[in-house]
């Protein structure tokens, strides 16, 4: 879900995704490389992401991922599910 969210703002390469999540979460979350790439590739296989090769900011060849319509839908569904889950957890934790 976090990866999908990172890509919702526009195409990014793997490193960009990891950095974005790291920064945006105020260094709270760190995506392991060992988990990131299998996840990206799996989502590519499932048709949620589209990949193409392009030049990075510093002119290196990099693989950019972007959301497909399928990925958008999935992000939407996941976000809703997460909202429900987190609010439920919060609810439970606030109970006295």
């Amino acid at each position: 879900m976090l990866i999908l969210k990172a890509l919702a703002l526009g195409p990014l390469h793997g490193y960009g995704v990891a950095e974005w999540i790291h920064q945006t979460s105020q260094q709270m979350l760190k995506v392991e490389e060992g988990a990131l790439y299998p996840a990206l590739h799996r989502m590519e296989l499932r048709g949620m992401l589209k990949a193409r090769w392009g030049a990075s900011d510093n002119n290196r060849r990099a693989k950019f991922y972007e959301l497909t319509a399928e990925g958008q839908k999935r992000l939407h569904a996941e976000a809703q599910r997460w909202a429900r889950l987190s609010s439920a957890v919060a609810f439970v934790m606030q109970a006295s």
Binding site: H13, Y15, A18, R42, E44, G47, S56, A62
Partner: protein
């Protein structure tokens, strides 16, 4: 696009562009490492430690690469291909073992194929005669789980003229005949056949005539016993001479006359025997002399009996009739009342079963477990087994 199809197509692409995909994955990971390295440098990690630090953060790139590769594979398919190539390598390494293994397999497959072809040709195919599905094989039931397929001469002679469901009831018995040639005698596969044998099998001769009821008399017809030969015998013995009809053959010291030649496709009624000479049943006591099975009368069990159903008759009708006439046949065959009483106590009766494949038909195959094909228990001189 359905997600599964999409995935399948991508995997397929990965399979064919394997090298490129592999390079791309490596590039992707290398790019990430390079970016990480730049970042660490920016954060003030000293030049000397940056490589170690990158490795610490990133982990083992080869491992990640392997993980990605697996993701894109058709797992089982590619493992199979790898196994195959591994086996091929191992086989090449030890050629002696390989040759033995391959030869063993080849022989095994070959032997099985051969045996099946033989069984198929001999036992499963219908006899090459017209309307072979109208043929039936007769058996004797007398309290045993399996019927007995051997008949004695008096039983057959009685049956031969006592039927209505069958147009003909015939008997055959395989034998080996000694035929005198220019250079000594030769053993030839032959068959004693009853008078209606060729009528029941409805096959016309290639030359001359077939044997008929007039040949199946004591002493044969006025000219002595006639014999019908197969096409292959005609070729081998007479070199296909067109004037073979009327030629004499000396068989078991008895002179007989060639009356006809059967075409090659005709194999008789028993696909396992394929005789070259057909000789009347009535000639048996003459040819076999002291060893005559005919002379053993009711106690000589040596012939196979078959019938051709009348055009309108069914096998069930034939069976009913066979059961009905069993007692009469029994009484006509012998005057030994004690023997008859013993048979009747065991519910002696005849039965007909389908015989389209000739004497050894598929119906007999399941019985193989019980002691062989219908070929067992022929030529026994004791009472019914």
């Amino acid at each position: 696009m359905a997600p599964n199809l999409h995935e399948f197509l991508l995997r397929l692409k990965a399979l064919f562009l394997k090298r490129r995909m592999d390079r791309d994955m490596a590039d992707e990971l290398a790019f990430h490492r390079a970016m990480l390295r730049d970042k660490l440098l920016r954060e003030g990690v000293p030049q000397t430690e940056v490589n170690a630090a990158t490795r610490r953060t990133f982990g083992d790139p080869n491992r990640w690469h392997e993980r990605l590769r697996e993701l894109w594979q058709f797992r089982s398919l590619e493992n199979l291909a790898r196994d195959a190539s591994f086996s091929a390598r191992m086989l090449r390494k030890s050629p002696g073992f390989s040759v033995v293994a391959i030869l063993t397999l080849a022989l095994g497959v070959g032997a099985n194929t051969t045996v099946f072809s033989i069984i198929d040709g001999l036992l499963l195919r219908p006899l090459p005669v017209p309307a072979s599905d109208r043929l039936a094989v007769l058996g004797i039931h007398q309290g045993n789980p399996l019927p007995n397929y051997s008949f004695s001469e008096p039983l057959f002679r009685s049956l031969e003229h006592r039927h209505e469901s069958f147009s003909e009831v015939i008997a055959l018995s395989h034998t080996t005949l000694q035929v005198k040639g220019n250079a000594g005698s030769e053993n030839i596969s032959g068959q004693f056949v009853s008078g209606d044998f060729f009528f029941a099998l409805e096959t016309a001769p290639l030359l001359g005539r077939t044997l008929g009821p007039q040949d199946d008399h004591k002493g044969g017809n006025p000219a002595g016993f006639g014999v019908v030969v197969s096409e292959s015998f005609w070729q081998r013995w007479f070199n296909r001479a067109p004037d073979v009809i009327g030629k004499k053959l000396e068989i078991d010291n008895t002179v007989v006359t060639v009356v006809g030649v059967m075409p090659k496709r005709f194999i008789g009624a028993d696909p396992l025997e394929r005789p070259e000479l057909y000789i009347p049943l009535a000639a048996e006591p003459v040819l076999n002399g002291e060893r005559s099975m005919t002379a053993a009368g009711i106690h000589g069990w040596w012939m196979t009996v078959m019938g051709r159903l009348q055009p309108q008759a069914t096998l069930e009708q034939a069976n009913a009739e066979m059961t009905a006439i069993s007692s009469a046949v029994l009484h006509e065959s012998t005057s030994d009342t004690g023997w008859i009483a013993d048979r009747e106590k065991r519910h002696f009766h005849f039965a007909a079963e389908s015989g389209s494949a000739g004497f050894t038909c598929p119906a007999a195959l399941p019985q193989a477990a019980g002691g062989g094909f219908r070929h067992v228990r022929r030529h026994s001189l004791t009472g019914l087994p």
